[in-house]
Symmetry: C2
Subunit: 375 residues, 2 copies
């Protein structure tokens, strides 16, 4: 069906919103899109077993190149037979480039044309990450989808810096393409940058999508800018993206961003939100966020979300889970994480149903009404 190891099958476009219903095919299965990808930074979706993550309907997870490079090392993962076998995950995997992490560890002068100099967050040791090195590590890890090494410049950045940065991102993409050793079983996605400037986003989209690749991502959004500015950028970018390739909006995972992103034609999303919030005892529910650690749930012998049929909500009360969180029991973090991942996967399932029925706009309105209440 395609020359690429990963390819997009379009099924339907929502008549009400233009959102895309489709499937992304990878060497490890098929993902219904729009899809949310849970994050397993260190080859584990924090607290969860791979079986639990799969049982909730996740077909793909994201793992982090920087973290696995630092520990246990990509050669070790390669020896184990690659990331899928190392962590015994039977679905698809996407690895990021490591760029996002090393930029946060580097000073401005450490970012040079060759790559980024930085110090490890584990032991302070000095390293250099380049496009070639990132691809080498990702070839070792063996994910189905690998990401180009790009520069995600901070928000806010000047127009001038953002323009130079997006040009470098394109040059780095070409180096990634040239050094990619497994194009037959790993799909390299390019990343569109351009900060919060519409003209630069358009230019980056033009440059990145001019390279024939199996998929394209939008990076550098959801980095602290107001929601409307992100939507404005998406409105510039997605109409310029090819329709026959998957579109991935990086680092996005709040319920509203998932819905608004889908409406703007995005197929894939990832975010640490459900796992990180879960570990800290906050859950996403149909009635909005709940801080289950709070005193108000001490004697709440009801599920965390009365509209949820996840393992946590079917089997345990808010009072019990609050007790576990207060007592620092791992199982409390597990249950909140479980619920949050289920919540977002379930939300995406409803989004896909709404697209199929041409009513994603109506779904958004009724979801927001319930989620935000009368605020």
């Amino acid at each position: 069906m395609s020359n690429y190891p990963v390819w997009y099958e379009h099924i339907h476009t929502c008549k009400q919103t233009g959102a895309r219903l489709g499937r992304v095919h990878t060497p490890h299965g098929t993902i219904d899109t729009p899809a949310f990808m849970p994050v397993g930074t260190q080859a584990s979706v924090k607290g969860m077993s791979p079986d639990e993550v799969a049982s909730m309907g996740a077909g793909i997870i994201l793992s982090n190149t920087y973290h696995l490079w630092m520990r246990p090392g990509s050669e070790l993962v390669a020896k184990a037979g690659g990331l899928h076998r190392f962590m015994n995950w039977k679905g698809s995997v996407l690895t990021d480039s490591g760029g996002f992490q090393v930029f946060s560890l580097a000073r401005p002068k450490d970012i040079v044309e060759e790559g980024v100099h930085f110090r490890s967050h584990l032991d302070g040791s000095k390293h250099l990450l380049t496009p070639e090195k990132s691809i080498k590590i990702q070839n070792d890890l063996g994910a189905d989808i690998i990401m180009a090494f790009d520069e995600c410049c901070p928000y806010p950045s000047t127009h001038d810096y953002s323009a130079r940065s997006l040009e470098r991102t394109t040059r780095w993409l070409d180096r990634c393409i040239d050094s990619h050793k497994r194009p037959d079983d790993q799909a390299l996605f390019g990343i569109i940058q351009g900060n919060m400037y519409g003209d630069l986003r358009a230019e980056s989209t033009k440059q990145i999508t001019s390279r024939e690749l199996p998929g394209y991502a939008i990076g550098g959004l959801s980095v602290g800018e107001p929601a409307n500015l992100m939507y404005e950028m998406l409105d510039v970018v997605t109409p310029l993206m090819p329709e026959d390739k998957p579109r991935y909006l990086m680092g996005v995972g709040t319920p509203d961003y998932l819905i608004e992103g889908s409406i703007r034609g995005i197929d894939m999303f990832d975010c640490v939100l459900p796992t990180r919030m879960g570990r800290h005892g906050t859950v996403l529910t149909s009635h909005g966020r709940k801080i289950i650690r709070d005193k108000q749930y001490a004697e709440s012998f009801e599920p965390m979300d009365d509209n949820c049929d996840c393992y946590a909500c079917k089997n345990f009360t808010s009072a019990y889970i609050r007790h576990l969180l207060k007592a620092r029991e791992m199982f409390g973090q597990r249950l909140c994480t479980w619920h949050n991942i289920h919540f977002l996967l379930n939300l995406m399932e409803k989004v896909r149903e709404a697209i199929a029925e041409d009513c994603l706009g109506d779904f958004r309105d009724s979801f927001y009404k319930e989620y935000y209440g009368n605020r």
Copy 2:
């Protein structure tokens, strides 16, 4: 079958060793004995779901009165419908008296005839635990088996102190019996003390078992004494215990103690060993203990125990689990805990099979040979 909510059914006595094969019947099911009880201190077997614990074959877990009293409070658990419902555990539960914990928080002068004065480990607040209070809390928690409030005197203690202490333990038992409000659905077990003195152990056994109770426990062992001294005490006590009641050896859970205890006629054991060791990255295997965190397992792409069919060993390598432990991923602790609990439950299953076949002595010898190797 019995006037008690919990009763012992004897099936077979091992001709080679005298070990007892039986069943303990409780309001929440039947437990094949000799049995190991995993510990869920704060209403959670650390890291595990109740379903996982049950799936491994555990029919009964232990929970701690002191911890639940301090947090979330026994009234809250009672409001939730009792401990079983609070934590959604469908099997049997045993609660300790809280004595062991408060003795470790008290100074000698805080131990008086009325009870024990101590300060909470959470906030330093002052409390008094008495036999009546312990039973009240345990009545609130609603476990199938509840334990008498006893004095577990430290090892070593003088003969004189140990003698006075065991007399007090008997007086406290009578106060427990008098204040027990739910004898129809909660079985109160008395606890035999006497430190490491054979004559005192015999005297305590005589006193405690002279009270008509559904079961009896042996406390104050495995508190730092040499193994032989513990076996010596068991050899004094168990022949004096009634044959038609369950016998519980408290706080014991190393593989050798479980086997030797079974040989000496014990039916029930509990210990935090498998969960605590698992959290710290050490596992019990058929070839002895392994510290999976160690460098030597960095590239071990084999299961932690090649003779094990637990979830961790069937699905993950030592190298992966070591990576998770080094990276402080919860899932690594979960997998080691899972394996350890499975290991002890499986060991007890083999012990029961060996009793049925009159060859527990042979089993012990071959187990030790494999477990300890040539050391």
